[in-house]
């Protein structure tokens, strides 16, 4: 809307065929990109061009395109989700870039994030981490009245901060060590802060950390890059809380 113009961008994009061990960078030029369009819409445009010229379009993941589902995720010019903080790739707009700029686009890289095709990687490791305790073990049925559990607003707000994680994997992608600590700690934190989470707190912390390690993520060296790229600005205070929970678990086990 404001000062819309059309720009040209040059892309260096990671392309990797399915079942191919190694990928490579390919260069494309996308012309007539409205500065109002989103980054992914720019890639849509590239795909339209590729399709029309008989080439195979670039595969990348996206779904809600409003920053909540966590499906999209690209490393743009070396930064997970691109140059703007506190947003997911789908919320990034082309007005952030200059006419004629060259953009390097890579997938989220980590050993557990096995490449599937082009910019799409497998993040099922996150599901497996959650399956080891990212919940309160309660069956659907007739629990007590919701207001029977009093939760201080402060704790509830902190729990919500942690719970806002969208599971995109940018924390892993940005971490120099490819650690999944921010992701894992966000879930552990949410329940550590709530009374409902207490009965199985010990089990949760140790099992989820074990699974995280088992998946082959790197270790956390407190670089804090995860926090800087997190679309939901989840802080590394959660990682510290996860560690406390883990030590408690270790001492109680």
């Amino acid at each position: 809307m404001s000062e819309t113009k059309n720009i040209t961008v040059h892309l260096k994009v990671w392309r990797q065929k399915r079942n191919e061990k190694k990928g490579r960078f390919e260069s494309y030029t996308v012309k007539d990109v409205s500065t109002d369009s989103s980054f992914l819409e720019m890639l849509d445009l590239l795909n339209e061009d590729l399709t029309k010229s008989g080439k195979e379009p670039l595969e990348f993941d996206s779904d809600c395109r409003e920053g909540i589902c966590g499906t999209c995720g690209l490393v743009i010019n070396g930064v997970a989700h691109g140059p703007q903080q506190a947003i997911a790739t789908c919320q990034l707009h082309m007005r952030k870039f200059k006419d004629g700029e060259t953009l390097t686009i890579e997938p989220f890289r980590a050993k557990p994030f096995t490449p599937i095709k082009d910019l799409i990687v497998d993040r099922s490791a996150f599901d497996r981490i959650i399956s080891k305790g990212g919940y309160v073990s309660t069956n659907a049925g007739s629990p007590q009245d919701a207001n029977a559990i009093l939760i201080p607003k402060k704790n509830s707000d902190l729990a919500m901060d942690a719970a806002s994680c969208i599971g995109c994997g940018a924390c892993v992608a940005a971490c120099p060590n490819a650690s999944a600590s921010l992701f894992t700690s966000a879930k552990i934190s949410q329940y550590a802060l709530l009374p409902q989470g207490q009965p199985e707190a010990t089990r949760r912390a140790s099992q989820m950390v074990d699974q995280m390690d088992l998946e082959g993520f790197g270790n956390c060296s407190n670089h804090g890059e995860c926090e800087a790229v997190c679309p939901k600005q989840i802080t590394i205070a959660n990682i510290a809380r996860m560690r406390r929970e883990f030590f408690k678990a270790a001492l109680r086990s």
Binding site: T104, K111, A178, N219, I236, A237, R243, F246, F247
Partner: protein, 233 residues
């Protein structure tokens, strides 16, 4: 049941061990620095008295400290190398381009070079031991008398060593690396111990810079002072 070994060597456990050993070693070098300051008095007796105290007055405790230090050193090294190794295998294909995500990041030259600064500090520590602990002693004529007891003249040795420009430069480099190592290591240790607080952590983070500067400069000031004074203090 207390901490099991599997828990200790989990990702979180390793960082705990690394942090505890790191802070202990920091405590040691802080004490070491304070002791070394006696060199600056220019009074050979003061420094040698400090040495005398450590060697002859602490008894069995000295051995406890020495072996303890070795254990913590090893623990720090093993966990650090292990963390570093995890990192090596966790990203088989590296990025073509990397950049920092922005303001809240704590990624610094310090944080990304911990393993290298650590390794060089280790080399320095070994050479430092060779120079001083296992260097010229009574047999080579470095003797003095403190409290009526004949002992090794560490003061003379120190002054002589620090008058060599090459050693001074190496010493300056090593301690700058130590400072760099502490700059991230200090606050990071607290974070690894799970100690994070909205008010305290920013202070700890800045305090890390102060501690790094004290360590980096403190250890350098002494030999530099000796060198530029030509050994006559």
């Amino acid at each position: 049941m207390a901490l099991t070994s599997s828990m200790l060597f989990s990702s979180v456990g390793k960082k705990l061990l690394n942090a505890v050993s790191g802070l202990t070693l920091l405590g040691f070098i802080l004490a070491h620095l304070i002791g070394n300051l006696t060199l600056l008095t220019g009074n050979s007796d003061a420094f040698n008295a400090y040495g005398h105290f450590l060697i002859h007055k602490t008894g069995v405790l000295l051995y406890v400290f020495e072996y303890g230090l070795i254990v913590f050193f090893l623990l720090h090294i093993i966990t650090a190398v292990s963390v570093w190794w995890d990192q090596q295998v966790a990203r088989p294909t590296s990025y073509k381009k990397t950049a920092s995500g922005g303001d809240t990041s704590k990624k610094t030259l310090s944080s990304t070079t911990m393993i290298y600064t650590g390794a060089l500090i280790l080399v320095f520590a070994i050479m430092h031991l060779i120079t001083f602990k296992y260097g010229p002693a009574e047999a080579q004529g470095y003797t003095t008398i403190v409290d009526g007891v004949e002992m090794r003249d560490l003061y003379r040795l120190s002054i002589e060593v620090f008058l060599k420009p090459g050693y001074l430069i190496w010493y300056i480099i090593a301690n700058a690396l130590l400072g760099l190592h502490i700059r991230h290591g200090f606050w990071s240790a607290f974070q690894s111990l799970g100690l994070n607080h909205p008010r305290c952590t920013p202070i700890l983070y800045k305090l890390g810079i102060v501690v790094a500067l004290i360590m980096g400069f403190g250890f350098v000031v002494i030999p530099a002072y000796i060198y530029f004074k030509g050994g006559v203090l």
